[in-house]
Symmetry: C2
Subunit: 248 residues, 2 copies
DNA sequence: CCCCTTGTTCGACAATATCGAATGTCGTTC
DNA sequence: GAACGACATTCGATATTGTCGAACAAGGGG
C-alpha cells in the first residue's frame, strides 16, 4: 500500500458539495496531515489537473476528474442508451433510479437519477447500505458468491420492517432471484419503500453493478410492477451488452 | 512533486473508452513502469475504490471516480440548472455545447453535450485547443491576464482560415469581448465552424470556465445569433450564480 | 498435462516523502 | 499606513517508503 497515493485519494475525497473549495490548512486538518505534506500532494494533484488553485489560494476539483468520469464504463451507456427508459420510469412512477456496486461488504450507489416530484429518498452518490437489505444489493449477492461470503461475515442486522436477518432465508431468496433475473425489496431498509433491481454484467459474464428503481409501493405494485420489471431488465441488458456481455 | 501520486494519476488516465479494461502488464508498459511498482499503486487505488479488479485480474475505473465527479463544481449546475437551455440550443441549431477551462497554456474541454443530428466536431472530453483560436479560449483570455500571458509566451500559430496571429489584434478583440460579455469565433480553428462563448465566474469573481455553442455558420448567424447569445449568457450567469458569484 | 504468459510477493537498497522550523505573502485591524 | 496575524510556501535533515530485480504463484492455451 502506497501511503502517498492513499493520502492523495483522501485529499480528493475531502471535496464535497458542502465544501467544494478548501485551503491547504483545512485539508491538512481534516486528514490529520502536516500542512507541508498536504501541500506537496496538493501541488502534485494541481499539476495533474485533478485539483485547481484559484487566485485566493483555495483549491477545488479540476477538469481531470471530469475526464476520468467519462471513461468509467457504463457511465456513458447509462446516459446515452439507458436514459430514455430511465427517464420514462422515474416520471411515470415518481421514483428514483440508482446504479449500485458492491464494495468492501456493502452496496455503494454510484449513479442516481430522480424526477423533481419523486418521493425523497436518503441516498446520494457514494452512500452505502447493507447489501442484504436493498434490491440492488440482493442482485449483486445473487450473482457473486464472494460478495455473499463477505456480507455473511459482517453479519445481518435489522434495517427496516421486512429486513431478512436469517442466512438460510437469504440464500433461498437469492436462488429465486437468479431464476427470475431480478430482485425486489419491500420496506427492507426503510419504511414504505419499494424497490426493483436487475443485474449488469461485464464482458466476462461477471456481475459488476445493478440498476434499480425505488418508489412508493402504491405506484409500483400490481400491474405496473410487470412493466417496471420488464423495462428495468431491458435497461440492464442494454448496458451489459454495451460492456461486451453476450447473453447465452 | 510527489512521484507516486503523479504515477497514480497517470495510471488512472490510462483507462479510456477505447481501453476501459487493462491488466497490470499493459499499464506498466504504457507508462514505462516496472510491473511491481505499477502493481503496488494499482492495489492501493483498488483499495480506495478508484479502480476495481475483476475475477480475470483485469482492472477498470471504480465507483469512487463517479463520486468525485459529482463533487466537481458546476458539474451538477450544468446538468440540473443549465441543461434545459442547453438542450434547447443544441436541438434548435444542430450544434454542440462545451464547457472549457484553461490549463497549462491551452483550453481543455471538460463537458460536452450534442444532439444526435449535430454536425460532427472533433472534440472530446479532455481534448485541447489553442486558446486564441476558440470562442471559449478567447473568453478565458479576456478575463484573466495570467492566462493571456501564458498564451502569448507559447506563441500564436495559424490554426484555421481566420486565426488571429497578431498579438495586438488579439488584445483588441479581448477588450471588445470584455465590453460585450461574450466572444465569437468564425472558422478560427477549423473550417466552417461558428462558435459563441460566455464566461463562468467563481464566487471570488475569477473566471473559471466558459460555456460555448459550436455549429454550422448558416444556423447561427443573423437573427438567430442574438437569441443564441442571450441564451448562452444567461446559462453562464445561472451557473456562475450557483457557484456563489454575485454580479455587480 | 505441461508450458508459457501474466500477476503477485519478497528483500535490499537508495531515493524520497515526511516533519519541524523558518520564510514569505496576503488580508485585516488598529 | 503600519504592524499584526493567519495562512501558504519553501527549506533541510532524517528515516521511512517506494523502487527495482528476481523469484514465486496462478491461470490459460496448446
Amino acid at each position: 500500500m502506497i501511503e502517498s497515493v492513499k493520502k492523495a485519494c483522501q485529499i480528493i475525497s475531502c471535496f464535497s458539495n458542502e465544501e467544494p473549495v478548501l485551503g491547504i490548512g483545512a485539508i491538512a486538518e481534516k486528514l490529520g496531515l502536516h500542512v507541508s505534506t498536504a501541500h506537496h500532494i496538493v501541488t502534485t494533484l494541481c499539476d495533474e489537473g485533478v485539483l485547481m488553485k484559484d487566485q485566493k489560494k483555495k483549491y477545488r476539483l479540476g477538469w481531470r476528474v471530469l475526464e476520468w468520469n467519462n471513461h468509467v464504463m457504463f457511465q456513458q451507456d447509462v446516459y446515452e442508451k439507458a436514459m430514455p427508459i430511465v427517464k420514462e420510469l422515474i416520471l411515470r412512477f415518481k421514483g428514483t433510479v440508482h446504479i449500485a456496486m458492491f464494495d468492501k461488504g456493502t452496496v455503494v450507489f454510484v449513479l442516481r437519477v430522480s424526477s423533481e416530484e419523486s418521493t425523497p429518498i436518503q441516498t446520494y452518490i457514494g452512500s452505502r447500505k447493507p447489501a442484504y437489505a436493498t434490491s440492488s444489493g440482493k442482485v449483486l449477492l445473487a450473482y457473486n458468491s464472494v460478495y455473499l461470503q463477505e456480507t455473511i461475515n459482517r453479519g445481518l442486522s435489522h434495517e427496516g420492517p421486512n429486513t431478512i436477518t436469517d442466512i438460510n432465508q437469504l440464500k433461498k431468496e437469492l436462488a429465486e432471484i437468479r431464476k427470475k433475473g431480478y430482485s425486489i425489496s419491500n420496506s427492507e431498509n426503510s419504511d414504505d419503500m419499494y424497490g426493483v433491481a436487475a443485474p449488469i454484467f461485464s464482458y466476462s459474464g461477471e456481475i459488476i453493478a445493478a440498476v434499480n428503481l425505488v418508489g412508493p409501493p402504491s405506484y409500483m405494485q400490481g400491474s405496473n410492477g410487470d412493466m417496471i420489471i420488464r423495462s428495468l431488465k431491458s435497461t440492464a441488458q442494454s448496458i451489459s451488452k454495451e460492456l461486451g456481455y453476450i447473453e447465452i
